[in-house]
């Protein structure tokens, strides 16, 4: 795309990548304080049990132990991100294997571990609630005594005339799709360092996705004023949704208070798999139909989402699964019923894409089935239904920019999908099949947040007398690169080179308020706040220069890093000189630009009907996968991915590519490899040996095609990409497998065993045929 900008739109390595390659970036576990103790958490070995008593005397008596806490040391109030159903440590019951019961602080890890073994807990075992369908029955035992049928959240809505659509459809299918719990597997485990000052204020360091949002829930959990808590974001080694809330934060805080010393807790990888917040597993019963011409006639969905033992952010994930996919196409007749169900398993939560990859797996698989039924190709059915710019979707979403059509066409063109489809013919060896598949997607950019409905962002841009610039924002960089994007935006507005700009880490004592890196909101909402703050700083510098020259401020402009006179362009001041003049006029104080972005035109959806424009913009994409399927071993090899994404204007194309590549890699893991396997509530594969994530040999070459319509709302026209990138991946792989071997897999992950079983069924003639119009 042609680009009149100096910095925006240029490929920029991350501003903090040098700290990362030399090893000086300090992540959570790298924080050390004088006198710091090591903490460990005692977790429940039972999926469901009443706690009769906890005896910590022997642990407390162990030399080197400085503090032991149980629920009695905590405020024992119930809190939660959305539904207040958690406590800091288990009070009456434990609800999953891994539930936190007690914690110990000691001089070293070995002593803390030894002390854990000395804590006696007397449990009265209860039958665990494990199966979602059974959990919803009236006679089921309850995970939380006050929640009948174990339903944490229920959604029902209708648009248009779904029954009429079904009646008039030329072809329709109903299928059950299932998706497992999968873990974010950020490489850095969660951790926390906490310390208290004499005046009763608390300071925490932790990798996280938004220190202000974290502090809000912490204040509720600890029953203390928000401003007595200082939450500092450390370098964050990946998060992907998994570091928006962690129990280790309040536990470390309470432990540090009890021990009277700073405490650090670092989770083990096993604790990560057993007791953090993996992706919400879903059972999706989906019916969709098309008219003779391939236009969508209706969609009807029944979803069961696995909440696990506590809710955290799963209600929001579940809500996304119920609604978001529907605005990808011009689809008017919709019915959806969805239940979020408690079970005695690990609580689930956010993972890149929220519930959107789950629903796109179902929906985009179905689109290919419907295309085949009406005799058009996968490209054509998507083109005929794709949303257009200016559309308001069935849910009231206004698509200010929308280039999904173009992403479909570009991805199809780049892969020659229409001509290269094989339709289940083997290669020369007779047992290997090559296939190609496509899937499209919609995601949000700048979504309404899930905490309180605040959805703007704030920033400060400080320009010192020497011309150096610091950007302060409370949004969090998890490695996705928002510090770099903010630096680019500030540099562009002020006309300075990128290396003149520093972006401060997020710290609730100093950063302007922000919700954090969730809901694909940081480039858009955070970026707009930085844009406003930089413009405010620029205007203040221009005003000072105008006064210095004795001309009105409107007579001046900023161009290529200099202040110029509009009427006499030869009159100019370099940026550092202008900054010095502005600072001197303030008595040597830096110039401070303030940016407060407030969203307009976005309506919090009605709690019942879910109708409302939920984001300032929407991003789109289409991915094409090429695979090889070995019908003897059932093994799938992904050969190539082409991804065309409508990201609005790419502020940092290098970063956008990185997000697409990383998203696809995670999607390939979700499609083919990953699953938290459980038996009676116990995680069977809590390590990287048994829970395989893609390695360098599993990921094919990935080609990114950026489609860049200028979005009317985004900063410099930008939208979002990080979450979007993983949304269609699974469906693209599933559709490619179908093209290769003619079997449709509806359960994730698509393992060799499942592929072989599906092939056997097909040979036996029991695979439901796709022409069942």
């Amino acid at each position: 795309m042609s680009n009149a900008y100096q910095v925006v739109g240029k490929r920029a390595p991350l501003v903090d990548s040098i700290d990362k390659v030399v090893g000086s970036a300090r992540f959570g576990a790298d924080i050390k304080l004088p006198g710091m103790l090591e903490g460990k958490i005692l977790r429940s070995p039972h999926p469901h049990a009443r706690i009769r008593y906890v005896d910590t005397a022997a642990a407390e008596a162990l030399p080197g132990v400085l503090g032991v806490i149980t629920a009695a040391d905590t405020p024992m109030v119930r809190y939660g991100t959305i539904i207040p159903d958690q406590t800091i440590l288990a009070t009456d019951k434990v609800r999953y294997i891994g539930d936190e019961v007690a914690a110990v602080a000691a001089v070293d890890l070995e002593t803390a571990e030894a002390a854990l073994r000395l804590i006696k807990v007397d449990y009265e075992l209860l039958p665990p609630v494990l199966d979602m369908e059974a959990a919803m029955r009236d006679d089921s035992l309850r995970v939380h005594n006050d929640v009948p049928n174990n339903i944490a959240d229920h959604i029902h809505f209708e648009r248009g005339d779904p029954d009429g659509g079904r009646r008039d459809a030329y072809a329709c299918f109903t299928r059950r799709f299932t998706t497992p719990a999968v873990h974010q597997c950020y490489l850095e485990p969660n951790s926390c360092v906490a310390t208290w000052s004499e005046n009763g204020s608390l300071t925490l360091w932790a990798p996280n996705q938004g220190p202000f949002a974290a502090r809000l829930v912490l204040a509720r959990a600890l029953v203390m004023p928000e401003d007595k808590i200082r939450f500092i974001q450390t370098f964050t080694g990946g998060a992907f949704g998994g570091k928006t809330w962690q129990q280790v934060w309040p536990i470390t805080a309470v432990l540090a208070r009890k021990a009277g010393r700073p405490v650090r807790i670092v989770l083990t990888r096993q604790e990560e798999f057993e007791a953090t917040l993996p992706r919400v597993p879903m059972i999706i019963d989906l019916s969709m139909g098309v008219y003779r011409d391939g236009r969508l006639a209706f969609k009807e969905t029944r979803i069961m989402s696995g909440n696990g033992a506590y809710s955290i952010s799963a209600p929001a994930v579940h809500y996304v699964a119920a609604t978001r996919y529907d605005s990808l196409y011009r689809l008017g007749n919709i019915r959806c019923t969805a239940d979020l169900v408690y079970t005695n398993t690990v609580p689930t939560g956010m993972f890149r894409g929220f519930g959107n990859p789950q629903m796109h797996f179902a929906g985009e698989s179905m689109m290919d089935m419907l295309a085949e039924a009406v005799g058009i190709d996968p490209v054509e059915i998507r083109r005929r239904n794709a949303a257009l710019p200016g559309d308001t979707s069935a849910h009231g979403w206004y698509l200010g920019s929308c280039a999904v059509q173009e992403t479909i066409e570009k991805a199809a063109e780049a892969t020659d999908l229409v001509n290269r489809r094989r339709g289940g013919r083997p290669l020369a060896d007779g047992k290997t099949f090559w296939g190609i598949g496509m899937a499209s997607c919609i995601h949000v950019a700048g979504n309404r947040t899930i905490y309180k409905p605040y959805d703007g962002s704030n920033a400060r841009v400080q320009v010192s007398g020497d011309g150096s610039v610091v950007v302060y924002s409370g949004e969090a960089d998890l490695g996705q690169g928002c510090r770099t994007v903010f630096a680019q935006i500030a540099a562009e507005v002020l006309g300075v080179p990128m290396d003149a700009v520093t972006v401060a880490a997020a710290d609730t004592d100093f950063s302007p308020f922000a919700i954090g890196t969730v809901a694909s909101r940081v480039t858009t909402l955070g970026g707009l706040a930085v844009d406003l703050a930089a413009k405010d700083a620029r205007d203040k510098i221009l005003a000072a220069a105008a006064e210095n020259w004795g001309v009105p401020a409107q007579a001046l402009d900023m161009e290529n890093g200099s202040v110029i006179s509009r009427s006499h362009p030869e009159r100019r001041l370099s940026f550092p000189v202008a900054a010095e003049i502005a600072s001197d006029a303030l008595g040597g104080k830096p110039v401070i630009g303030v940016g407060e972005y407030r969203t307009e035109g976005v309506v919090l959806p009605d709690p019942q009907t879910k109708y409302g424009n939920i984001a300032i913009a929407y991003s789109f994409g289409t991915q094409v996968a090429e695979v090889l399927v070995d019908t003897e071993t059932g093994r799938v090899r992904v050969l190539r991915f082409v991804a065309a994404h409508d990201v609005g204007r790419a502020i940092n194309p290098l970063g956008v590519e990185g997000q697409i590549e990383g998203g696809i890699a995670q999607g390939i893991g979700y499609a083919l490899l990953e699953e938290i396997k459980m038996d009676r509530g116990r995680v069977l594969n809590p390590d990287f040996l048994d829970y395989r994530i893609p390695t360098s040999v599993d990921i094919p070459p990935i080609e990114s095609i950026l489609v860049e319509p200028d979005d009317p709302n985004g900063p410099f026209g930008a939208k979002s990409v990080g979450e979007t990138a993983v949304v269609p991946t699974v469906a693209a792989v599933a559709n490619a497998i179908y093209d290769a071997i003619g079997v449709r897999l509806t359960d994730l992950p698509m393992t060799p065993d499942r592929i072989l079983a599906a092939l056997r069924e097909k040979r036996a003639g029991s695979q439901p045929s796709s022409s069942g119009a």
Partner: protein, 162 residues
């Protein structure tokens, strides 16, 4: 406790250690070289990779006592006189760094690969780093970075870990 001398990044350190302590633990907790990361403590992720006599090993599986008398290089010791090693520079330039948690291990793994095989092809690179997990990048730009660094090293603009 046992007294040993560890040579880390060219400096000798006299330390009292327990025989069961891993090199990772000693580096991070006793020498404060926290650039070496712990992602699993089980040999499955490669975040803890360091060089021992030029070869990449997982320091979470390597007992500190065994490293006595050997040359240990951690990520902190790779840049020389403020100049990035060509592998580090290439990681920055092509955008192979996102969160950065796998980066120290990945960079050192690449340094040891290039010492053994100065001109690896993409398949050899992918094989060599397959024990180092990265959850952010999809490995695409990491492979590119190592290819780029290989060109730099073979054109002589690089420095080795010597």
């Amino acid at each position: 406790m046992k007294e040993i001398t560890l040579n880390v990044n060219g400096e000798n350190h006299r330390l009292e250690i327990e025989p069961h302590w891993t090199l990772l633990y000693v580096l991070r907790e006793k020498l404060d070289l926290v650039g070496t990361k712990e992602g699993c403590n089980a040999g499955d992720c490669g975040a803890c990779t360091v060089l021992i006599d030029g070869k990449a090993i997982n320091s979470c599986l390597f007992l500190a006592v065994r490293s006595e008398g050997r040359r240990i290089v951690t990520i902190e010791g790779l840049a020389q006189n403020g100049k990035l090693h060509p592998v580090q520079q290439a990681f920055v330039d092509v955008g192979a760094v996102q969160c950065g948690f796998c980066t120290p291990g990945m960079v050192l793994r690449a340094v040891s690969l290039l010492a053994e095989n100065p001109q690896p092809d993409a398949t050899e690179i992918r094989q060599a780093i397959s024990g180092n997990l990265c959850r952010c990048t999809g490995y695409v730009k990491i492979v590119q970075a190592i290819e780029l660094a290989a060109q730099d090293v073979t054109t002589g603009s690089g420095v080795s870990d010597e």
